[in-house]
Amino acid sequence: MSAPNPAVTPLVEVAGVTKRFGPVVAVEDASFSIRHGEILGLIGPNGSGKTTLLECMGGVLAADSGAIVRDGRPLTPDERSALLFYLPDAIAPWPSQPLAWALDYTMDIFGGRRPLREDVLRALELGPLLDRPLGRLSKGQRKRALLAIGLLTPQPLLVADEPFEGLDLRQARDLARKLRAFAGGDRAMLLSIHQIADAARVCDRFVLISAGSVCGEGTLAELCALAAARGAAPAGPGLEEVFLGLT
């Protein structure tokens, strides 16, 4: 019997996750898989259900149905905590505490990747900000600080909500390049992104979500083929055209 290929074997699967807020269906029967070492982009416009889906995955919001599955078995909350770390968007945790403390604290409580600390600080240019309280960082600085927290966690899957939100073009490109450097091997990433150009720069594969439903999953080529199969051939080769064709 041959060993499973980690490049295509799912690290984890999202199976039929549904979340309603009263009469509003925020996420409906969302299913897709995340592979070892890849960067998977969850692509969709604002209000498409990306954050809700990620919060359900991260265990900070209760899904109405569905599960996070590994090896065909739904994960318990403890198993999920050990497998993935969810980095929310638009948070400013521990605003009175300096960045250095926040990094050490999260590594202490999650058992983080200490050998990576200096690399992450250098890559995200956080060295000069270590003594500054998190509440006094600019939006872009805080984004990088939170990303550092996420990158230093030990879980094999980092789920980050809108990591490029609030960054200008140059910062977003720079960050995308650095994220790529930290992915692969024992670290996969699921990034929710509403700017399709940002997603195209950093992701290996894509999950397209619109109005709470997953419309497609795969590489750009696979999504192009899927669009063509559905009779919605994209007008061009770019991800934007594919997205428009499939949603």
Binding site: G58, L61, I91, Y105
Partner: protein
């Protein structure tokens, strides 16, 4: 991942840093000095004036007990702080995590939510103990004036206020966990605090079940401890309510659990807490730690009363607001309950104030029933009540009454107290706050 046990120490350090970063705690700390100080200074002055007028210690009674004259009023400053300042400190520590988004990160920890809540409560209690050093300063000043300190009764007062602080912390944590916004949590906490006062007020009017409920409000509990009375039922109920409040908070910070499940868990917790407190209220042991034994009859009377094995029924025809009933309850029946486990007291009245019942036949009567024999009397003094009981039981107490407490008069002025509480304490607290602020920047 760090083990659930391995996260406790980092969590303690984090909560401690967050407490020190909280302006609410520093304000609480600064104000604690003047709050305790004004109570202590007034108490020492009043005690000194009364002692001066009394002249010598011969013949003085419980009026010159530091428990009633000094500790109860001084620690009332702590009670005010617990009711009106401590909730904001606790709410800041719990709601801050929700507002900043830190809760979403910490919710992914393998450690159980109750561990996180317990750590918060422990750090808050440590913060309370530091603020309570103001009361410790009052104890030291009193000793410096030459005042008497009877450790057991002082320990009872400290224990009562510690439990009261625990109740406040648990309530505020629960409110902050369920409320979306800190201001809502503050309103909930203060409403419940005021609600307990209303229960006491209604109890004074209507008696009955309200009276039994009011006996377990924080104010009533603190009152018992301030009189040196440690009742096991009150103590255990306070501990149970603290645990229930913290468990409620732990349920509601589990943000990844469906609201309906959290609501059901809360309901189950509420039912269990009510059942537990109901069962604990049946526990009888209590200890009178007051040096003047103000919660007990004389040892001779207690020895005589303990020989009564049969149930004693007392039927009191007095309205809840009748001063005679209040006097009877406080000076006699509360002491009697501690000695006679099989005492059944029934209050009978048709009105709350009794003003228009005075002409009714039987109003004001106290009926006693023991071993099939009965007697009645209108006297409400301890001596008269005991005489009726002894007469029914056919026993005579030992003549050797041992009330050897002669009081501790002290005609002292509160020298230096104003400087300590109004200048030094706030000054040191503000200096520490400034130092902490500079370090964190």
């Amino acid at each position: 991942m760090a083990s659930p046990r391995g996260v406790v120490w980092p969590l303690i350090r984090k909560e401690w840093r967050e407490l020190l970063a909280s302006r609410a705690w520093w304000i609480f700390l600064v104000l604690m000095g003047p709050l305790v100080g004004v109570a202590f200074i007034s108490a020492v002055r009043a005690y000194g004036e009364a002692s001066g007028r009394g002249g010598t210690s011969a013949g003085v009674g419980e009026a010159f007990s530091p428990l009633v004259g000094i500790w109860a009023p001084t620690f009332s400053g702590c009670e005010i702080a617990a009711a009106f300042l401590l909730p904001f400190v606790a709410i800041r520590l719990v709601a801050g995590d929700k507002q900043s988004g830190a809760l979403k990160i910490e919710s992914q920890l393998a450690a159980a939510t109750w561990v996180r809540v317990a750590v918060k409560a422990a750090v808050l209690l440590a913060g309370w103990l530091i603020a309570s050093l103001a009361a410790a300063a009052a104890v030291l000043l009193w000793a410096a004036y030459g005042g008497s300190i009877y450790a057991p009764e002082l320990a009872a007062v400290v224990l009562g206020h510690l439990l009261n602080a625990g109740l406040t912390i648990a309530l505020a944590c629960a409110a902050a966990a369920i409320a979306e916004h800190p201001s809502t949590a503050a309103i909930i906490t203060l409403s419940i605090t005021v609600g307990t006062w209303i229960v006491s007020f209604i109890a004074a009017i209507h008696g009955g079940l309200w009276e039994r409920l009011a006996a377990y409000t924080p104010t009533a509990m603190v009152g018992q401890f301030q009189h040196g009375l440690v009742r096991l039922d009150s103590l255990l109920i306070a501990v149970a309510l603290i645990a229930a409040g913290l468990a409620f908070a732990a349920i509601w910070i589990r943000i990844g659990t469906a609201v309906r499940r959290r609501a059901w868990a809360s309901l189950a917790l509420g039912v269990a807490a009510v059942a537990l407190t109901g069962a604990l209220s049946l526990i009888r042991p209590s200890w009178d730690l007051a040096e003047n034994r103000m919660n007990s009859f004389s040892r001779g009377d207690e020895a005589a009363l303990r020989t009564i094995a049969a149930p004693l029924r007392i039927r009191v025809h007095l309205a809840p607001e009748d001063p005679r009933r209040v006097d009877l309850e406080r000076r006699t029946l509360s002491k009697l309950r501690r000695v006679l486990p099989q005492l059944h007291v029934e209050y009978v009245s048709t009105t709350s104030i009794g003003l228009f019942e005075q002409t009714a036949a039987g109003y004001g009567e106290i009926e006693y029933e023991l071993n099939g024999r009965s007697a009645s009397s209108r006297a409400t003094t301890p001596e008269a009540v005991l005489e009726s009981i002894y007469s029914l039981a056919g026993i005579a107490p030992s003549a050797d009454n041992d009330d050897d407490f002669r009081g501790h008069p002290l005609a002292a002025e509160p020298r230096g107290a104003a400087v300590v509480f109004y200048v030094a304490w706030p000054g040191v607290a503000l200096a520490c706050a400034a130092l902490n602020y500079r370090r964190s920047r």
